[in-house]
């Protein structure tokens, strides 16, 4: 068993070593051109279905960078030209850096010397970049934007976000806990509109922030907000973390090391966590869909990009030398010349595509020497380009590794003075990951300075609000009405912004007080000792005897829903509010007798349905228990006694 285990360990070690070697050997080329696309998505909740599932809408913006880097530690690169084909390009690519000599765009003029077959292929390219000099270690980035609508990417995202809350509605004004189930899976439909390879995988980290900051997807009405319990995930790790956004959240959750196969819709990450919060607002409301934080997705996709952008061709070269050799004249005034191109760079390989040799007249820069019948035979290995002018062209297409040279064949011509022989050469870096230029492409989330990533899922939960209903009680002696008669005014006001439900007002008549001048009618305003104003707001009344110690009677009044907007000053003569049904006045008179205590009358209760306290509906009270209705023990005792007496009596007689 132990041998087998060590064998497995050894195998794993070999695999790890191979992976490391593979990584090391896939290092960037001396001139590396990377296409890096960025996905920024905002996932916004629109509502919650009755099963608790959040309905999201997606908005996505794909952008890209062409990053051109000179990875060679010693060699400068010159005249770097890059042609890129970007499908669904929005506008033009652009360089937004600080260098003034770098240019990028869709219609850059490529010099004829470069812009030709075999030197620099521009077929299908719509973004051209020119960098005169790229120093060792330097990177130039060119930005482009993808037309997301045309590409069918705007209304989706690479991931399907499914979120469910349990419960999905919480009451306000209290500490309540809800569980969030957050599932993320590949969006096969959206990915099908991209050029990402079928084999792509995404490495992902999800950072969940709670927020009570309105500037950061939160609400200031969250008086407390924190993660409770232990978060879970089926893919990767989970732990708490202090990120670059803290807000006022007590804790943040990080789900990391997530791996998603983008070709498999059932490959997902399923997480859950619990949030405890207290939402308290000074405003009255029925229901609000309130943000309580957000989740940030940081991800990278191993290879490929969304738009299908690709590098068409790259032209560049590094250090080299060109030498012209001239010999002659012989007795017939014949001259010979050739050119030698030498790769003087360290670690770069060029291909020499074109060399041109020509001769001008003595002391003259531009007037060619002319020979009748100057032809290809005069250009050994080359071509006479413009006879009778002495010009030879060579297309060697020969690679020059470090410190190697290429020398053209001889150009032979006749001239009776001393000619000037010139040469120029076109050579460029080869496409090679070790000694030339290479390309790569990858995709990741768009960066966000504040949150780290611009892939943001906003989270909201329904909060059930309350009404602000207030009752004020006045007890005032009214000697004109009778001895020890008191007027009682109950002023009910709806301070909230919305219409209240039915309102119950409770009041108790203390001991040694009795109702005075009451009739059964509560709608005869100011006619007697019991009425409600407006009378149309009166919906019912009930009472109970001896409701509690010190009180002989308990009354409740039911009022129709009050309109919102009362000022809450408790004024029982605010007829504007009374007429608007924002305030309702309940009036009654009581008369004290004996050793009555007026102080006991300062007691009142109110129970608006959906009230401000923790309970948001009328409290349901059930009553049960038991009533002993069996006297079996008594019957059994009586029977036993009768039996005993009968037996004793029977024995005595017998």
């Amino acid at each position: 068993m132990a041998v087998e285990r060590f064998r497995k360990i050894g195998l794993v070690g070999i695999i790890i070593t191979l992976i490391i070697i593979t990584i090391n050997t896939s290092a960037a080329a001396p001139l590396q051109v990377n296409i890096e696309e960025k996905i920024g998505s905002t996932v916004t909740p629109d509502g919650i279905e009755n099963n608790g599932n959040v309905q999201f809408s997606y908005q996505t913006n794909v952008t890209g960078f062409v990053n051109i880097t000179n990875n060679d530690p010693d060699d400068y690169l010159y005249d770097v030209w890059v042609a890129v084909d970007i499908p669904n390009l929005k506008g033009e690519c652009s360089y937004e850096g600080s260098r003034t000599d770098v240019s990028a765009g869709s219609s850059l003029a490529v010099p004829d010397k470069i812009n030709k077959q075999g030197v620099f292929n521009t077929s299908g390219a719509n973004c051209f970049i020119h960098i005169p000099v790229l120093a060792p270690g330097e990177t130039v980035s060119v930005f482009y934007d993808v037309n997301d609508s045309e590409a069918g990417l705007a209304d989706g995202a690479p991931f399907v976000v499914e979120e469910r809350y349990d419960p999905f509605k919480i009451p306000s004004r209290g500490e309540f806990t809800w569980t969030v189930y957050l599932n993320v899976s590949p969006n096969i439909t959206w990915l099908g509109n991209t050029q990402l390879p079928n084999t792509a995988t995404a490495s992902m980290k999800i950072v969940k922030y709670l927020s009570n900051d309105t500037m950061h997807f939160g609400s200031q009405n969250w008086k407390t907000l924190k993660v409770v319990g232990t978060p879970t995930t089926n893919n990767g790790n989970v732990n708490t973390y202090s990120g670059n956004y803290t807000g006022a959240a007590d804790s943040t959750i990080v789900f990391s090391r997530i791996s998603l196969n983008l070709n498999n819709p059932s490959n997902s990450v399923n997480t859950s966590f619990q949030v405890e919060g207290n939402y308290t607002s000074n405003d009255a409301f029925t229901t609000r869909f309130e943000p309580f934080g957000f989740a940030v997705f940081e991800f990278s996709i191993s290879s490929g990009n969304v738009s299908g952008a690709k590098v068409v061709d790259v032209f560049a070269f590094g250090n080299a030398s060109i030498a012209v050799n001239k010999s002659g004249p012989d007795a017939n005034n014949n001259w010979m010349g050739n050119a030698t191109i030498t790769n003087t760079a360290s670690g770069l390989t060029y291909v020499v595509t074109n060399v041109t040799l020509w001769a001008t007249q003595q002391g003259d820069f531009s007037n060619y020497v002319q020979n009748n019948n100057f032809n290809n035979l005069n250009c050994s290995g080359g071509t006479a380009l413009d006879s009778p002018n002495v010009i030879c062209g060579y297309e060697p297409n020969q690679q020059l590794t470090e410190s190697t040279s290429y020398t053209t064949g001889n150009m032979e011509f006749t001239y009776d003075q001393v000619p000037i022989i010139w040469a120029n050469a076109t050579f460029k870096l080869i496409e090679d990951d070790t000694n030339g230029w290479g390309t790569a492409s990858n995709t990741a989330n768009a960066a966000n300075i504040t949150y780290g990533s611009d892939f943001i899922v906003i989270e909201k939960i329904y909060v059930i609000g309350t009404y602000l209903v207030k009752v004020t009680k006045y007890v005032q002696a009214n000697a004109s009405a009778g001895d020890n008669v008191f007027d009682v005014w109950l002023v009910v006001e709806n301070l909230g912004g919305e219409r209240s439900p039915y309102v119950y007002v409770y009041d108790l008549i203390p001991e040694r007080f009795s109702e005075y001048n009451w009739n059964d009618n509560w709608t005869d305003v100011r006619q007697d000792g019991n009425w409600v104003n407006n009378s149309s707001m009166f919906s019912g009344i009930g009472n109970v005897n001896n409701p509690m110690g010190g009180y002989t009677k308990g009354y409740w009044w039911r009022l129709y829903p009050l309109e919102g907007g009362a000022n809450g000053d408790g004024d029982y003569m605010d007829y504007d509010e009374i007429d608007a049904n924002q305030s309702v006045v309940i009036f009654y008179q009581v008369q004290g007798s004996g050793d009555f205590k007026v102080l006991d009358a300062f007691l009142v209760g109110i129970d608006p349905m959906l009230s401000m306290n923790e309970q948001t509906s009328p409290k349901i009270t059930l009553v049960s228990g038991a009533k002993a209705t069996s006297y079996e023990s008594v019957m059994a005792l009586a029977t036993a006694f009768a039996g005993l007496v009968a037996i004793v009596s029977y024995r005595k007689r017998s």
């Binding site: 119950y504 948001t616 509906s617 049960s624 009533k627 209705t629 006297y631 009968a646």
Partner: protein
């Protein structure tokens, strides 16, 4: 009789008993199942219905339990006396579809309150079903019989009320008379109280229109009295 029974629980409730207001919720179904052993295991299957056009959170609900019984000398009940006591409850739980609700028990001077909390909203017109279970010392145990008399009162309309009382012993009496399943079905308006009595015996007796213990012990008592009279005449 009904007035006396209402007074039994009167102090526990301040109920609207007259005019009908717009109701927020009703108990659309209320199924009571009582398993009678030495203790009673009581199970309430309750369905709340939201009657208004806004979501409603049931919030805090109360079940108040009171036991009314005669004074006792040793194990003998003293006729025509009455005392009110809190009901001893245990193993209280409230739950629904895998969710466990917070419950607490408060024992007052002469009654017990089970407080449950449900913070799940009920959408307009929709229902929420939940179950409350507890054990309670509400069984009236005798020598050959045991019985329960359960009052049910509410401040919310109960549209469909079902009661089932089960025991390993034989059912000898039920009031109102027992059906098959459920034993009793009806409705209960807000502010009213209903009583249900079931008596069981260890003897193989049929269900009778009067209390079984009265029949058996009355017959024995009568028999002994006849024997006594016969004995005295000899």
């Amino acid at each position: 009789m009904m007035v006396r029974k209402l007074l039994l629980i009167a102090l526990l409730l301040i109920l609207p008993v007259t005019a009908q207001a717009q109701k927020v919720e009703e108990i659309s179904d209320f199924k009571i199942t009582v398993d009678v052993n030495s203790l009673a295991h009581v199970r309430y299957d309750i369905t709340l219905k939201n009657l208004i056009d806004k979501p409603v959170v049931p919030g805090i609900g109360e079940i108040r339990l009171q036991k009314v019984e005669p004074l006792k000398v040793a194990f003998i009940s003293v006729p025509f006396t009455e005392q009110r006591k809190a009901v001893k409850v245990s193993d209280v739980k409230a739950y629904s579809d895998g969710k466990t609700f917070k419950v607490s028990v408060e024992e007052k001077e002469d009654y017990t309150v089970i407080v449950y909390e449900i913070w799940y909203p009920i959408e307009p017109g929709k229902t929420l079903s939940f179950t409350v279970e507890y054990n309670a010392d509400i069984v009236d145990s005798g020598l050959l019989f045991k019985s329960v008399t359960i009052p049910i009162g509410t401040d919310t309309d109960i549209r469909n009320l079902e009661i089932n009382v089960n025991s390993n012993w034989k059912l000898t009496f039920a009031e109102p008379p027992a059906g098959n399943s459920p034993m009793w079905r009806g409705s209960l308006p807000a502010g009213s109280i209903a009583f249900y009595t079931a008596e069981f015996s260890m003897l193989p007796l049929p269900t009778m229109p009067v209390r079984g213990y009265v029949v058996i012990w009355g017959a024995l008592l009568g028999l002994f009295l006849i024997l006594l009279v016969i004995g005295l005449r000899r």
